[in-house]
């Protein structure tokens, strides 16, 4: 009984090993032999993967810039009346802290406001010409979400602590423009990425399908000698996967090279080519390229095999 089981297990192991060899081993050997046939597929995939990765890095940079702008814009300065009492100011502060839309409230004295203004280019001279301190005391309110800024400021209308003539730094037009820009920039980035992903998938599928069609006779012969579906499709899928991995590795190398070049150019010209994109982000993106290539290659070869009958 035990001997029979042992024999069955040995046969099963042999079948498994032989199956893997028949699919993976043969595919690897074929891939190495047919380097010239797969080169166009590797090349087009590599270029598209690098373009896709650069788009992702550009999107990260745009997001960083927008996030910084949004962070600046989400701080609204509410100006206090000169004759506002401490109790009125404390009451206003308490009211704001109780508001869930408000992240933080900071009291800015006239001296603090003057100090900050002097640090802004061009303002120092104007302030000295004005004589004295033209800045009133204020409260800096940071709203949690940029779209809530207008509602928070409107809600403060009529508060006895606030200057009725010039209540706040909030400018509805500027905020709406920024909101609109964020929405449009996000939609454009998403659209570009989707188009690139579609083009990458289509070009890769076509390149791999061309390679498969070139071996259409092979498929027919493999079926004629008794190969089953997985024996025929398996090697093509493995070859597609291998093509994707190689394209991904080459793309990762190219991306690292391009990023290093961009960093060097930034250092020379004191400009930021990709604001907020650092080496860890670039390396993560590069590391994901072989995985993306592998998925793209296997999916494209499966798509390329659809409808191909021997």
């Amino acid at each position: 009984m035990r001997a029979a089981w042992s024999s069955r297990l040995r046969r099963l192991a042999l079948v498994a090993r032989s199956s893997v060899d028949l699919v993976v081993g043969d595919a690897a050997r074929n891939w190495a032999r047919n380097r010239r046939t797969v080169t166009p597929a590797v090349g087009s995939m590599c270029v598209l993967l690098v373009l896709g990765a650069l788009s992702v890095l550009a999107a990260v940079a745009v997001r960083n810039v927008l996030a910084a702008s949004a962070a600046d814009a989400s701080v609204v300065r509410v100006y206090l009346r000169e004759d506002a009492t401490d109790a009125q100011v404390r009451s206003l502060e308490g009211r704001l802290r109780a508001d869930r839309r408000v992240g933080s409230v900071r009291y800015v004295s006239p001296d603090d406001a003057l100090r900050e203004a002097r640090q802004r280019p061009g303002l120092a001279q104007l302030i000295s010409q004005a004589g004295g301190n033209p800045f009133p005391a204020s409260l800096d309110i940071t709203v949690r979400r940029l779209p809530d800024a207008g509602a928070v400021v409107t809600g403060l209308t009529g508060d006895p602590a606030i200057d009725p003539a010039f209540p706040s730094s909030y400018d509805a037009g500027t905020y709406q423009q920024l909101q609109g820009f964020i929405t449009v920039a996000g939609a454009i980035a998403l659209g570009v990425l989707l188009v690139l992903a579609t083009v990458a998938a289509a070009v890769t599928a076509n390149a791999i399908r061309a390679a498969i069609l070139a071996r259409r006779d092979d498929v027919a012969i493999m079926r004629l000698v008794g190969a089953s579906g997985w024996m025929v499709r398996g090697p093509f899928v493995v070859e597609g996967t291998l093509t994707g991995v190689v394209a991904g590795v080459l793309g990762a190398g190219a991306l690292v090279g391009l990023f290093a070049g961009a960093q060097a150019a930034s250092a020379r010209t004191f400009t930021e080519v990709l604001p907020g994109v650092d080496w860890p982000t670039a390396l993560t993106c590069a590391g994901l390229l072989p995985v993306t290539g592998m998925l793209l290659g296997s999916v494209a070869s499966l798509a390329g095999l659809r409808g191909l009958r021997g």
């Binding site: 032989s18 032999r33 006779d217 004629l224 000698v225 008794g226 190969a227 089953s228």
Partner: protein, 260 residues
């Protein structure tokens, strides 16, 4: 004549193929066509063809171009399904075969084509070994290569084991195809114009190999349009004309002139 059906019980491996199939297995005939018809669209290729071949028998299928020879072989190899009638090949009824049972038939029925149909990316020994490995997954790569080399030596290609098809002559390629077909020890071997693209000497070698396979017990059916090639071989000749079987001649005993 009714089939003698051998039931294949679940869990029992059928002889000649590790498959369990719900198909009729006959012991009488290796190939049987019963009133078989086939059309390509509206163009009839075979009309009511009936014949059978015993295990180990060799026959030539003679006919002009477009007489239906290739169609008949394709039906016997389950590359086509009969439009009417019934085809039994290597004990399996072709019309019902799908999946595993279809592969079982392809493994029991070897086929040799006029255009060789070798995998150009593989060497001669790899071509033969590939067919062996898909037929039996428990066969190790090394063992398959050894058996393939043996099969190639048997057809006289021991010196060209690692040559790619493009490096071989037509006759050598055809011998690789025969080695590939015979290596898996098929019960039936179909050959479609195997000598059509070969010169007389190479054609003679190829037919000799096929006759040797028949002597070893394989049922061999060779399609040819070359009347001279077939005559005088002392084998059964099936004649196809316009898709109809219009002759089935058994070999005649040699006549001797008596002097005086």
């Amino acid at each position: 004549m009714r089939d003698k059906v051998i039931p294949i019980r679940r869990g029992i491996v059928a002889p000649g193929g590790a498959v369990e199939i719900a198909a009729r297995v006959t012991v009488d005939d290796a190939i049987r066509f019963e009133g078989v018809s086939f059309s390509y669209g509206r163009v009839p290729a075979l009309r009511g063809v009936t014949f059978s071949m015993r295990p180990g028998e060799m026959a030539y299928l003679l006919g002009r171009s477009a007489s239906g020879k290739s169609t008949l072989l394709h039906l016997a190899h389950a590359q086509l399904r009969p439009g009417g009638g019934r085809v039994v090949s290597a004990g399996l009824t072709v019309g019902r075969l799908r999946g595993r049972s279809l592969r079982a038939l392809r493994q029991r029925v070897g086929v040799v084509f006029q255009d060789y149909r070798l995998l150009e990316r593989l060497t001669a020994v790899e071509n033969v070994a590939y067919a062996l490995r898909v037929a039996d997954l428990a066969l190790e790569r090394g063992e398959a290569a050894r058996l393939a080399a043996e099969a190639l030596r048997e057809v006289g290609l021991g010196e060209r084991l690692n040559a790619f098809p493009v490096e071989l002559s037509g006759g050598q390629r055809q011998r690789v195809a025969i080695a590939r077909a015979l290596a898996a020890r098929p019960s039936v071997l179909l050959a479609d114009e195997p000598t059509a693209s070969l010169d007389e000497v190479n054609g003679g070698h190829v037919l000799a190999l096929l006759e040797r396979a028949a002597r070893a017990g394989t049922t061999v059916l060779v399609a040819s349009c070359d009347r001279e090639l077939v005559s005088g071989r002392g084998r059964r000749v099936l004649r196809l004309d316009g898709g109809r079987l219009d002759g089935d001649a058994m070999p005649q005993p040699e006549r001797r002139e008596v002097a005086g």
